[in-house]
Symmetry: C2
Subunit: 240 residues, 2 copies
């Protein structure tokens, strides 16, 4: 049975949050001790420009925000600490209360939002619901280095997983990554901006098939292509 974890749920919660009120959309800025607590969270949406964003990233962001004006596209907010959602749906599937209360987990934070501004993953995802596709604008910071001067393959795989997760969650609700298959075509220069176009290709029962390509800002350079398989979670079944 395929039931691996992914950033898909993060995106799902973002989507749900959008419908259920702004207070559930974003992150707790306070230290990690706030996680899993019932304290009122201080919210922040991380999928917005900050001073570390390059001119290219800001320009693309503005272009997509324009596309949002007629409702065909929408920007997906993003949080830092998924745990603040206290997702009951998710607990049904996986969560061991002892694990949640464990010492190490008091510091838990979302992998892609744990870096200082500009050093790690800077990204925003836009969703076109009618076309079942998303566009992720991503700037990979200097802490994501693989070979000197270039992004680590794992950082690219991470962003593809995040982009896929959002795309699958639009149609699938609570989903999880079952497979990632990535072809790396060219090395990506560190600190450059990438555009990840993801598409829902097929929905077959609880299986969602997605694909993407990773391109340069001017779309001329193809850096990677990938496919993904996501599985809708079935609330009636536990995956652990």
């Amino acid at each position: 049975m395929l039931r691996s974890c992914t950033a898909g749920l993060r995106s799902l919660w973002a989507l749900r949050g959008r419908r259920e009120g702004a207070a559930r959309l974003s992150a707790d800025l306070q230290p990690a001790r706030r996680l899993f607590s019932t304290e009122k969270a201080v919210h922040k949406d991380w999928a917005l420009p900050n001073p570390s964003w390059s001119k290219d990233l800001k320009l693309l962001f503005d272009q997509f925000m324009k596309k949002c004006e007629d409702g065909s596209w929408e920007r997906l907010p993003s949080c830092k600490h998924t745990c603040t959602y206290k997702s009951e749906d998710f607990k049904t599937y996986f969560l061991d209360p002892q694990l949640v209360e464990g010492e190490g987990l008091s510091q838990a934070q979302l992998f892609t939002r744990g870096f200082e501004d500009g050093l790690g993953f800077e990204y925003v995802i836009f969703n076109n619901n009618d076309e079942k596709r998303t566009v992720c604008l991503f700037q990979g910071g200097p802490y994501l280095q693989g070979i000197p001067g270039f992004l680590h393959g794992g950082a690219i795989a991470t962003m593809i997983d995040v982009a896929f997760g959002s795309c699958a969650a639009i149609s699938g609700g609570a989903v999880m990554t079952a497979n990632l298959n990535i072809n790396f075509k060219r090395p990506v220069p560190l600190c450059s901006v990438l555009v990840i176009h993801s598409q829902l290709d097929k929905l077959e029962g609880r299986k969602l098939f997605v694909s993407c390509n990773v391109r340069s800002v001017d779309e001329k350079t193809l850096y990677s292509e990938a496919t993904g398989l996501f599985i809708k979670l079935d609330p009636k079944k536990s995956s652990t």
Copy 2:
């Protein structure tokens, strides 16, 4: 042409360093301004126990260190700033001098070694040269969270890429990831220890085919399986 970046070169450099002297094996502990400079680096090997290592990880580490005593296995050292190697081989392939001297890159550090002790990727890789396989012992810290209480799929993909890179570099020298295909079977609890067994399956011209499985400490739980394709770099050709 397949020529994406990977952690493989890091591992390659570790392997080379082992042959060429300890001074080239490990990392620069000083701030990032030291990168790309000619200053003498302060070296540290990050693939050694630190206080954040769990009992399980330390136990496994000790077991593999025992296996190293007869020379059948060897521990691969690990660095934080690949750039301190100033790899001329690599520059031949990809590096744009302007890029290397760019502002953002002055802070560059290896993705998997950029976290404080215990918060991110804690790992060590052991190599069995005769059997063409490696074992990576990995503890995923709280900053690698995906869904609450579990490791991010991208963090798992990253460690698989690192483990594959080491395995391929043993036979291939300078290699790069061309493909990663990962099946996620079960979510991995945050802060748990994983054992990644990688194997070189086939060498076909410049192509190296590798596979791995990701298991729990007691080997009873299979979390992920993956295959990878790596390409040997050809010093006579530029990939950019």
